[in-house]
């Protein structure tokens, strides 16, 4: 059985051979299912221009889907012809098939990585390399690993140097000369932002691993909400929003756009880590859904011989079914029972919408806040119970819901805070990654164009704030702040609402 290892712990030629394989696969025509270009197009492909979808920020780089994809071997240089090819391949269920905002997110990406790994492995063998190459994973969760030294924690936040550097003097990135295949020019950041005292629990964290149910209507669902085939879904699942989306958006550039993300070699290591986290979550005693619709949904891929193959989630419930496993590594799982532990059965967990913003909120590079309109307490059955009392061992669940987020461009993770009246203090609720914002904002055969939706669990912070002398639920404001300047990108949140458990 193959073992996928942490990229920061491998000392053999895994990355060297990966680099050689990428270069070899890039020589193949996009029509070849084993080419680098075809593999990336399975996830997404698009030809938006810079003005429609800026991938850089502050106008530093005029990158666009069009400029990036035109580098692919065999792609028509005429955009209309290129789009026609992409549409044709989409209709055949081969390109633009990635599942997001959906309970298919995890199994689809597991299948995707499985066939990619086999294709890379065969390419390496054809180049005279070893026959046991496996895809490494990038465990950024090690930044929270209490057993590691500060130096190793810091190291976990960086993209490994084999993938290239960011030169502070020239403000440009450059490849590692020994690993040219692992570099991509359009990579915006090489480091994930660590927690800071100002942002406790900031950016991405391990909270999603504490989810106890696979399916949910919001972030409590580890695997995502029930959908049909979903290239752009309605609500992200817990693991998908954090760390998946936030890491995508932190790195930015090609990684920040689903239509170009898989062109960056680090994409595959990031997703190997997401796949590992799913496996760890299962091994910790959690269970996937047993819904037949989920188990039997068929997805199509190509194997290392370029032959059409299909798999269903029931084929990939455990990595051992696919003859691989992961080396033991930190997964962020709490060893103790989580504070909020609900049997999240669909239909027994009722949320009521108790407040909402009145007007859409346009994001700025600086913090911006909005007040909320509340319904009167007589019109809802929501009662905020206390944490840990005998009669109510779990607090009333409270969520901040951000709906119909539309816009264009690559936006770094956005922080959400609760502000109390007459106070400059703000209290961190969570972060959201707007991965796929541009695609979700324009109507297409894969999207309704009504934007992204994210629900953040605010239960703990709300219940802590209730002890605050200035606490008054009806007077709270929600503040929104992107972690980096927006540059040429833009986003508007259609509605911010508060939902609470009945």
């Amino acid at each position: 059985m193959r073992i996928r290892k942490n990229v920061n712990e491998i000392k053999d030629g895994t990355l060297l051979w990966y680099s050689k394989a990428v270069e070899e696969m890039k020589k193949r025509d996009i029509s070849d299912p084993t080419s680098w270009w075809y593999q990336a197009a399975i996830h997404g492909i698009g030809f938006k221009t810079y003005t429609e979808n800026p991938l850089g920020h502050n106008n530093m780089h005029e990158w666009s889907e069009d400029s990036i994809w035109k580098k692919a071997k065999g792609i028509p240089q005429n955009t209309i012809q290129a789009e026609a090819l992409a549409d044709e391949m989409k209709d055949k269920h081969f390109w633009q098939q990635c599942q997001h905002g959906s309970w298919y997110f995890l199994p689809w990406h597991r299948m995707y990585l499985y066939f990619f790994e086999r294709i890379v492995s065969k390419t390496i063998q054809d180049l005279g390399g070893p026959d046991d190459w496996t895809l490494p994973y990038w465990n950024y969760f090690n930044a929270f690993n209490p057993k590691l030294t500060p130096k190793l924690k810091e190291k976990a936040l960086f993209i490994p140097q084999e993938f290239g550097f960011f030169c502070n003097d020239t403000h440009q990135t450059q490849p590692n000369p020994d690993f040219p295949g692992l570099w991509i020019e359009e990579r915006q950041s090489y480091k994930l932002n660590p927690r800071t005292p100002d942002h406790p629990g900031d950016l991405w964290d391990t909270s999603s691993m504490q989810s106890t149910g696979f399916v949910g209507e919001g972030p409590d669902g580890f695997g995502g909400e029930i959908t049909d085939f979903s290239h752009n879904g309605r609500y992200f699942g817990a693991l998908e929003n954090n760390p998946h989306n936030t890491v995508h958006d932190e790195i930015g550039g090609t990684m920040g756009d689903p239509n170009t993300a898989a062109l960056d070699p680090i994409f595959w290591l990031h997703h190997a880590n997401i796949d590992r986290l799913w496996q760890s979550w299962i091994e910790n005693g959690n269970t996937d859904t047993t819904d037949k619709k989920w188990l039997n949904q068929v997805f199509y891929f190509h194997n290392e011989h370029g032959e059409k193959v299909s798999l269903s989630p029931s084929d990939v419930l455990n990595t051992q079914q696919l003859d691989y496993t992961y080396s033991e590594n930190y997964s962020g799982l709490n060893q103790t029972e989580p504070v909020i532990h609900k049997s999240y059965l669909r239909g027994t967990f009722v949320l009521d919408t108790i407040a909402a913003s009145i007007k859409p909120l346009s994001l700025n590079s600086t913090p911006i806040s909005t007040s909320l309109d509340f319904i009167s307490s007589e019109k809802t059955k929501v009662v905020l119970t206390h944490i840990g009392t005998e009669s109510s061992p779990a607090p009333t669940a409270v969520y901040v819901s951000l709906e119909n987020i539309t816009g264009a461009g690559n936006i770094a993770p956005v922080h959400i805070f609760i502000k109390l009246p007459n106070s400059k203090e703000r209290f961190f609720v969570g972060s959201l990654g707007l991965f796929g914002l541009t695609q979700a904002s324009s109507p297409s055969t894969h999207s309704a164009g009504q934007g992204l939706n994210v629900q953040l669990n605010a239960t703990e912070i709300v219940h802590q704030l209730r002890a605050h002398p200035q606490w008054k639920l009806e007077d709270i404001h929600i503040e929104v702040e992107p972690s980096r300047a927006l540059g040429a990108a833009n986003a508007t949140i259609g509605r911010i609402s508060i939902k609470a458990e009945v």
Binding site: E217, A356, V502
Partner: protein, 252 residues
Amino acid sequence: MATLVFKKVSDFRVAHPHWFVLCLAALIWMYYLSTLIGTSTAHHHHHAHHDMHAQAGFASMTWQWMLMVFAMMLPMTSGTIRNLVNSVPIYRQQLSLALFIVGYSSVWLVFGVALLLATHMIQTASWTAQLHVLPMAALGYFAAGMLSDAAFRMRLLNACGSIWSPRLRGFKADLDVLTIGLKEGVKCVKTCAHVMIAMHIAGHDIVEMGILTAALFYEATLYRNKKHVLRNTCYVLAAYQLLVFYLPHFGH
């Protein structure tokens, strides 16, 4: 026991907030089924042609049209209703559902009246007598099949179920929900009108209605990425209508 039943019912209502429209559609289908069985028993007839053209009066025809819309189209709005209900306060859910249905139905009503008027005008025009030599029902289904895979339709189909969250309360919130219903109605008309027109031309055979509803439901709610289901269904019905037209005893 009673508590358990109450809880089960309550859980079902929460898990399936669109239960009301499904029940309404089911009732109409039961009515159609009883008509079908009644016709079959009385006339030893395989099909029950619920021929709208034979109904007396414009109001009756409009009523029949709306019944058909509720039976065939309301179940398609399950996703939209679920999203809508989840985005409004619980105390406003029933009102929102009613406003949504009013908005949604209004669009189909206007479309239906326009279609019935157009039909009446065409039927009374002298030149249309020549059309009887053509297999109109087959042509209608064939055209519907051709339109079923059009790119604009696929875009609209994907938009089904997605909504812009309404405001929280008050008149403006009512207006938002009504607008959601109107917009959903317009999307539905654009997505499914070709099928409804084909059926109108063919004479509203209940069995054909059932087949097309199943195809539409499959396409809209079960697997949107699966193309050609509706197109192929329309082509099969076109072939059937062609056989009936040239071999009138085939359908009996």
